[in-house]
Every structure is written in structure tokens, then in C-alpha cells.
């Protein structure tokens, strides 16, 4: 899926390429604070953020990762629906 296709699905986009750790993590978590239950956040990075994945799982978020042909990592993140 391209950045544009991903971008269309996302309500908010963070391009964290060019930021030094842990800045992308901090920005992502701040942004996730503000998104609604049906909203999605797109995070664009230069490499896969393994610690972020674990943090998303722990904090109740789902995500989908795509690697573009240029090697950029795009992660679409949304809130897991609360258990019934």
C-alpha cells in the first residue's frame, strides 16, 4: 500500500523520518492520546520500530505495517475496540 493510499485512510500523519529516537515514539504516543475511537494515525519511519509495537499492544492499539518499495516503513495505528 502506498503512502498516499495509507494517508487517505489516516486521520493524522506523522512523518518521523529524520527524527532521532525516542522522539518518534514520544510524538506517536502524544498523537494517539488525541485520536478518537474510529480514527487512524499513520506513522512514517525509516525502519521498523520493534519497541513501539510492544508498547502499542500493551496500550490497547492495533497496527498494520507496510514496507514501500523505497524501503520506508508505514504503520497505520488505531484503537482496539473495547472488549464486550
Amino acid at each position: 500500500m502506498s503512502q498516499i493510499e495509507h494517508g487517505k485512510k489516516a486521520d493524522k500523519v506523522i512523518d518521523a523520518r529524520g527524527l532521532e529516537p525516542p522522539e518518534p515514539f514520544v510524538l506517536t504516543m502524544e498523537a494517539l492520546d488525541t485520536i478518537g475511537p474510529d480514527e487512524k494515525l499513520l506513522l512514517i519511519l525509516a525502519r521498523e520500530p520493534h519497541p513501539l509495537y510492544r508498547a502499542l499492544q500493551i496500550n490497547g492499539f492495533a497496527y498494520q505495517t507496510e514496507r514501500t518499495p523505497q524501503g520506508t516503513i508505514e504503520i497505520l495505528i488505531w484503537r482496539n475496540p473495547p472488549p464486550p
Binding site: 504516543m29 502524544e30 494517539l32 519497541p51 510492544r54 508498547a55 500493551i58 496500550n59
Partner: protein
């Protein structure tokens, strides 16, 4: 959001920190040794003082930081959790620290019992470390350059130490062994199969991530560690079998491994997204230029009789490689690792109630820059001392003590921020309890 981080993979902060805080003390001792010994140290690479100085930096400074960093990295990058990390760290630290002191004292006095103690303590400490990390890495597929590189570097460390212990026994009890040849093999394994392979593995991840450069090329990740270990192994076999021509050719290949690492790193650094390099980037840049200068000097000395006759060239080579190369990279890495660890552990301890301070507030860039000036001043004076020891050995010794005292102060300041913030977290938690 005060996100909860995954903490199942991070060892306690005290595990790496004890190693990081001990390292500058050894470098300060190296400075004191320069002041105590004076210009005589620079008479040859084989003077007792030069051997003691070399091991204060390699076993005292470099080994401490590299073992501490590996205990932090292995669980995080490879999912290789060391069982009972605090106990292993305590045992390793409590053995390699006195082991290094015994070794240095052994060089300065040539008392066999001191070499004996060094062999026991260093041998035990490194064996515990290698066994614990090998056990943790057992079954972890080497599917990334960092895991592969660290596995091969561990093999490099083991061989370096075996040759080192053999040399210590030979020196202590005057065994009839080809000491110079064995010392060169020990040096080749230590610098290339352990040092370069480990730095290559860590740099492969850390340089693009923290210096905002493009990735290292794919061939580098696939073949660097194998080449480092492979060429050093072939060269060692050729040396031991007395195949002079092959050994000579292979030794050039071993040095070229370091050249490839330095040139590749400088190439990707040139394409960093940062407009102005930060101090850590500077540490790495100067380290790579210094390593290149060391390798050029080695190659020139190998082929130029004029240079080969100069007693001072091995000392200049050692200064460029150890102080300018390895030490600069390691200090630079400490300035990324320590603030990051403080941030990571505070984020976890905050339990979502209190934000961890920004990494730049844990250790301000201005303090890093000032210490960097002190570090490179000491390095410059050491280079001058290898040409004119009578003039520069004392300023160099003093500058080395100042630079590393400053490094220790900076690291302690970061830990002070950690402690101060923990008190705040405890106060917030206490205020919320009914």
C-alpha cells in the same frame, strides 16, 4: 500519553551503568600512569608502562563499556535475555575490574603472582560473560547483521582473551614462547575480530538511527563480521604455520577490514540529514579519520624501511587507533546510550503518571560538546607525545585525566537526573494513595 513500554526485554539500569561508570576511572588511571612514568613510557611499545597503559584503555575502558553495552543490547535487539542479569553483571564486573588492575600491576612489577591473579580474574569474568551471552543467544537465529555481528564478535573476544591469558602466563613464568608473534595475534583478534566486528554490528544499527544517515549497504551487513573473523583466522593460521608470504598478505587484508569500516561509515555520515553534526556525530567522524590514519601508518611502516626503523611508529599507531579511534566512538556511544536508558527507565517507572524528561534535558548538548573538546585535546597531546615525549607526556597525562573526569561527571549528572525524577515519581504515587 504516558505509554507503558515493553519492559520484559530491558535489564535493570544498574546492569550496564556499573560498567559505564567504571570505564572513565580506568582512563583516569591511564592519565595518572603517564604522569608517573614520564617520557620513558614512549621508549618502545614493549616498555612495562606502555603495556600497562594499553591495557588500562583496552581492558579497563573499552572492555568495560563494550560488555556493559552488550548486556543491554542483546535482550533488546536479539531478544536474547540473559538469565539473572543482575547476578551475571555483578560477577563479571567484580572479576574483570580487579583482573585488569592485577594485569596492569603485573606489567609494572613483573611479579608472577600478579599475572596469576590477572589470569584467574579476567579468565573467570570473561568466561562467565561469554557463557551467559552464548547461552542467551543459543537458538536465536542470526537473521540480522547485528545478531550475526555480535555472535562472531563474541568468538573474537574469546580468542583474544585466550591469547592474552597465554601471554600473561608466559610473562609471569618466563615460558619459552614467541611473545612478539603471540602479542601481534592477540592484538589482531582484539582490534579486528572483537573490536571492529562488535562496533560494525552496533554501528550498523546505531549510526543510521542516531545520526540520521542512510543505512549501511547490504553487502556490509552480510559480510563485514564474517570477513573480519575470517581474515584474522586465516592470518593467525598463516602466522603460526610460518607461511611468511601468506601471513604478510593476510595481515594487510586484516588492516583493510578496518579501512572498509571507516570509509563506509564516513560515506554514509556525509549523507546525514542533519545540517549541523551533533557532538556524537563528531566523535564518530574524528574516530573514523583517526582509524584511517592509523591504518595508513601501519601500511606505510610495513612497506617503508625508513618508517619501520622509527621506534615511535607503533606508539603513534596505538594512540591513533585506541585514543582517537575506539575511545572516541565509545565515548560518543555512551552519550547516546546513557540518556536513552535514563529516559527509558523513567518512562517505565512513571507508570503513566509522570512524563520522563526529554533526553536533551537528561544530558545537555553543551556539556557533551565541552567534554568532547577535552577528549580531543587529550588525544592531540597524546599524538604529540608519541613524537616528542619529553615535551608532551605530562600535558597529555593531565589532559587524559581531565577529559575522563569530565566524562564521569557528565554520566553522573545524567544519573542524578534519574534519581531526582524517581523521587518525584514516588511523591506522585504516594499522593495518589488513599
Amino acid at each position: 500519553m504516558q505509554a507503558l513500554l515493553s519492559f520484559d526485554q530491558a535489564p535493570p539500569i544498574s546492569v550496564p551503568l556499573r560498567f559505564f561508570l567504571t570505564a572513565p576511572l580506568f582512563a583516569m588511571l591511564a592519565g595518572a600512569l603517564l604522569l608517573w612514568s614520564g617520557p620513558d613510557l614512549f621508549a618502545s611499545r614493549w616498555t612495562p608502562e606502555a603495556l600497562a597503559l594499553t591495557h588500562l584503555i583496552t581492558a579497563g575502558f573499552m572492555l568495560q563499556v563494550m560488555l556493559g553495552a552488550m548486556q543491554q543490547l542483546l535482550p533488546v535487539v536479539a531478544g536474547a535475555n540473559i538469565a539473572r542479569p543482575r547476578l551475571i553483571a555483578t560477577l563479571v564486573h567484580a572479576t574483570i575490574t580487579p583482573g585488569t588492575l592485577f594485569l596492569v600491576a603485573g606489567f609494572l612489577t613483573y611479579q608472577p603472582w600478579l599475572f596469576g591473579c590477572a589470569v584467574v580474574f579476567l579468565g573467570l569474568g570473561i568466561s562467565i560473560f561469554v557463557a551467559a551471552t552464548a547461552f542467551a543467544l543459543h537458538g536465536v537465529p542470526a537473521n540480522s547483521p547485528i545478531i550475526l555481528g555480535l555472535k562472531l564478535a563474541l568468538a573474537g573476544l574469546s580468542v583474544t582473551v585466550v591469547f592474552g591469558l597465554l601471554l600473561a602466563l608466559a610473562l609471569g613464568w618466563s615460558f619459552d614462547l614467541p611473545l612478539i608473534q603471540l602479542a601481534n595475534i592477540h592484538l589482531g583478534w582484539g582490534f579486528v575480530a572483537w573490536g571492529c566486528a562488535a562496533l560494525g554490528a552496533v554501528g550498523f544499527v546505531a549510526v543510521p538511527m542516531f545520526q540520521l544517515t542512510p543505512d549501511y549497504p547490504g553487502w556490509f551487513g552480510r559480510s563485514f563480521a564474517y570477513s573480519a573473523l575470517g581474515f584474522v583466522l586465516l592470518w593467525t593460521l598463516a602466522e603460526l604455520a610460518a607461511w611468511t608470504m601468506a601471513a604478510s598478505l593476510l595481515s594487510v587484508m586484516v588492516v583493510l577490514i578496518a579501512v572498509v569500516f571507516a570509509l563506509t561509515t564516513l560515506r554514509i555520515q556525509r549523507r546525514s540529514k542533519r545540517v549541523r553534526p551533533d557532538p556524537v556525530q563528531r566523535f564518530w567522524q574524528i574516530a573514523m579519520f583517526s582509524a584511517l590514519a592509523a591504518c595508513t601508518l601501519w601500511l606505510l611502516a610495513r612497506f617503508s624501511p625508513l618508517l619501520e626503523d622509527w621506534q615511535g611508529w607503533p606508539l603513534l599507531f596505538g594512540t591513533l587507533l585506541l585514543f582517537g579511534g575506539f575511545m572516541s566512538v565509545i565515548v560518543g556511544m555512551l552519550y547516546k546510550i546513557v540518556p536513552f536508558l535514563v529516559w527509558l527507565h523513567l518512562q517505565h517507572r512513571g507508570r503513566g503518571l509522570l512524563t520522563a524528561p526529554n533526553m536533551k534535558k537528561v544530558l545537555a548538548e553543551v556539556h557533551i560538546s565541552r567534554q568532547m573538546v577535552a577528549h580531543f585535546t587529550a588525544f592531540g597531546l597524546l599524538v604529540l607525545a608519541s613524537f616528542w615525549p619529553q615535551w608532551f607526556v605530562y600535558p597529555a597525562g593531565l589532559a587524559l585525566m581531565v577529559a575522563n573526569g569530565w566524562l564521569l561527571r557528565n554520566l553522573l549528572a545524567a544519573i542524578q537526573v534519574y534519581r531526582g525524577h524517581l523521587i518525584k515519581i514516588e511523591a506522585v504515587i504516594a499522593s495518589r494513595q488513599p
